[in-house]
């Protein structure tokens, strides 16, 4: 018999459900071509995004990539402000000034988002150095990916952050995809753990899209970074179960095949955090959460 969820666990599960539901809604409008700007849906990133948002304290800062939708939604706790930003409205999370790929919501700790692969790691190093010189508490989390880590600044950032003893987490989202190319289609394998080990940076792997495990691992990493004044690197295996950004020739999945009418789960594999949750919490509870989220208007109740 499954153990009942605690209140905190329920909140985390609800967050993952909401992130999926809101992204479905964005995807439906993307299909209807309601946006002028390129939008990168991040269906499949919800467990990690919810866990990252949960682990952040007020003093922490988050630095994102162009595929930042799930993280910005998690930090905002509402669909409206992110949606309004995508409509370039003054009511948007950044006043309609930053759009999608560069959306940063400073009041919620999202300081910088970059549409240029590898660009955000040096900036994150600067943010963490600023914390160090000002003796500000907290740490900096910077998202990157299996494509961005091919860029020189990834390696430079490892060396720089370790040398200066910066309190930061370099979090690699490995979705085995850069535009339309898988890793094997474009490069040799990179052993991130060995690479980090070569410069003395602690490394942790994340697998399976379980938000509870992710949150626990991230809390441990946050403590490690703060106590040992060190950068830490994590690599999360996940899937981006949608197109690159709207219709993209050659992209293996088409958002037209992803439909809210088919329910919240998109893929019945462990690439889909909603499917993982369904296995973990059971059909009955899954239906309960689904019904709750589907009945909400778009704002986070909690």
């Amino acid at each position: 018999m499954r153990k009942a969820l605690t209140d905190q666990e329920r909140q985390l599960v609800l967050e993952v459900f909401r992130l999926r539901y809101w992204q479905h809604r964005m995807n439906e409008d993307l299909k209807k071509k309601k946006f002028k700007i390129p939008i990168h849906v991040a269906i499949g990133h919800e467990a990690l995004a919810a866990a990252v948002s949960r682990v952040m304290l007020k003093e922490d800062q988050l630095v994102l990539t162009h595929r930042n939708m799930a993280y910005n939604l998690a930090r905002a706790g509402t669909l409206e402000e992110v949606y309004a930003e995508y409509q370039l409205s003054p009511a948007g999370a950044a006043g309609g000034k930053l759009g999608s790929m560069n959306l940063a919501d400073r009041k919620r700790g999202v300081v910088y988002s970059s549409s240029v692969l590898g660009n955000n790691i040096p900036v994150a190093c600067g943010l963490a150095l600023a914390k160090q010189v000002k003796r500000d508490p907290g740490f900096v989390i910077v998202l990157t990916g299996d494509g961005a880590m091919e860029e020189g600044p990834f390696y430079e950032g490892l060396v720089f952050s370790k040398t200066i003893r910066l309190r930061m987490l370099i979090l690699v989202e490995n979705n085995d995809m850069s535009m339309s190319s898988t890793i094997s289609q474009r490069r040799c394998d990179i052993d991130v753990q060995a690479l980090c080990g070569s410069v003395g940076i602690p490394f942790r792997a994340l697998r399976g899209n379980d938000p509870f495990e992710y949150l626990s691992a991230l809390r441990a990493v946050r403590s490690l970074a703060l106590e040992q004044e060190t950068p830490v690197c994590m690599e999360a295996q996940l899937g981006s179960i949608n197109q690159h950004a709207g219709p993209t020739p050659g992209w293996p999945t088409d958002p037209k095949n992803i439909s809210l009418e088919r329910g919240l789960v998109v893929e019945e594999t462990d690439r889909d955090p909603l499917f993982v949750l369904k296995q973990r919490i059971g059909e009955e509870l899954f239906e309960e959460f689904s019904n709750q989220v589907l009945s909400e208007s778009g704002s986070m109740v909690s």
Binding site: V116, N119, I121, G126
Partner: protein
């Protein structure tokens, strides 16, 4: 009078002593030659931290913008302008992100103090001198240090100011005695300086050509041709009203620019002046299209006699018309 590099180093050190809680960083910033003397005697006082860093210029530039985003003021010292090409992406993209939504007052200050290797004989890969190219691509301000008073004002008004800018030194001038010219006018934003007022010709110098422009003015004055001498910097949008007022009076514009770029701010000035002021005699002294890419003396050649001849004939024609 001190040499150019000694004077510039002293100006930088004394200006930095007035700004607390800075991060000063760069390769060899506190080792060896201290970047050819540029960073000698920097002090880690008043909360200022000096960080000697490894060879990763892209990261250095991104770090500066991260510090700026979190309200910290910093200076990146760099040995060669061409190294900054590795940071070009941040000048354009990262700073655009910042400028798109943040008020300048909420930011720290980020200045790059960089040496331009324009001394000649540097070889094909170390002689990039087009500060204006980087500034133009990113629409960021860039100031060249050509003389004492101008450098002092630029450092006083720009270093420590919220936002980003370049401050560039010319290695060709390092061992020369620093110019100390009497200022007639200095724009508040340090975009334009004027050193003399004359009624016969207006000389405008870009990049590091002011010493050459100063010599040219002296030779012209020996021939009785009185000149207004200007030094213009890469500030966008430029305000050239003072230059245009001068040209309206002199009807003669001599433009000097020693940058090897094919895209010069000097050309923008010329087109504006020609469009707005009819019948202006213009003399353009730039590197031209035959820039050598190999090892060479690599300098702007100013043929003063030719300029004198052109101006004198222009003046003679004007007197005949009168």
């Amino acid at each position: 009078m001190a040499t150019y590099i000694v004077a510039l180093n002293q100006l930088i050190v004394s200006r930095l002593a007035q700004i607390p809680n800075m991060v000063l960083y760069g390769e060899n910033i506190n080792n060896g030659s201290h970047i050819v003397g540029m960073t000698r005697n920097l002090k880690a006082e008043n909360g200022t931290r000096i960080i000697n860093v490894g060879n990763c210029e892209t990261t250095h530039v991104g770090v500066g913008f991260g510090l700026l985003l979190n309200g910290v003021s910093c200076i990146l010292f760099a040995k060669q302008l061409d190294f900054m090409l590795l940071g070009l992406e941040h000048f354009v993209n990262t700073y655009n992100f910042i400028r798109a939504h943040r008020e300048a007052g909420s930011l720290g200050s980020f200045t790059i103090c960089v040496i331009v290797c324009d001394q000649g004989f540097q070889g094909p890969q170390s002689s990039f001198n087009g500060l204006g190219d980087i500034c133009s691509l990113a629409r960021v301000p860039g100031y060249t240090a050509t003389n004492l008073k101008e450098a002092e004002q630029i450092l006083r008004t720009q270093m420590g100011k919220p936002g980003f800018r370049f401050f560039a030194l010319s290695q060709r001038l390092f061992q020369t005695e620093i110019l100390d010219l009497e200022l007639v006018h200095a724009a508040e934003d340090s975009s334009l300086f004027q050193y003399s007022e004359g009624s016969d010709a207006s000389i405008v110098c870009f990049n590091f050509s002011l010493p050459a422009g100063h010599l040219l003015r002296a030779k012209l004055e020996e021939r009785g041709i009185e000149c207004s001498l200007f030094s213009a910097h890469q500030v966008f949008p430029p305000n050239w009203e003072r230059i245009k007022s001068s040209v309206l009076k002199t009807r003669r514009l001599v433009v000097l620019d020693d940058s090897k770029s094919a895209n010069l701010l000097a050309h923008t000035l010329l087109s504006e002046v020609v469009r707005e002021i009819p019948s202006v005699q213009t003399i353009v002294l730039t590197r031209g299209s035959d820039v050598e890419f190999g090892v060479c003396p690599d300098q702007l050649q100013v043929d003063a006699d030719s300029v004198i001849q052109q101006l004198e004939s222009g003046i003679a024609v004007e007197r005949q018309v009168r």
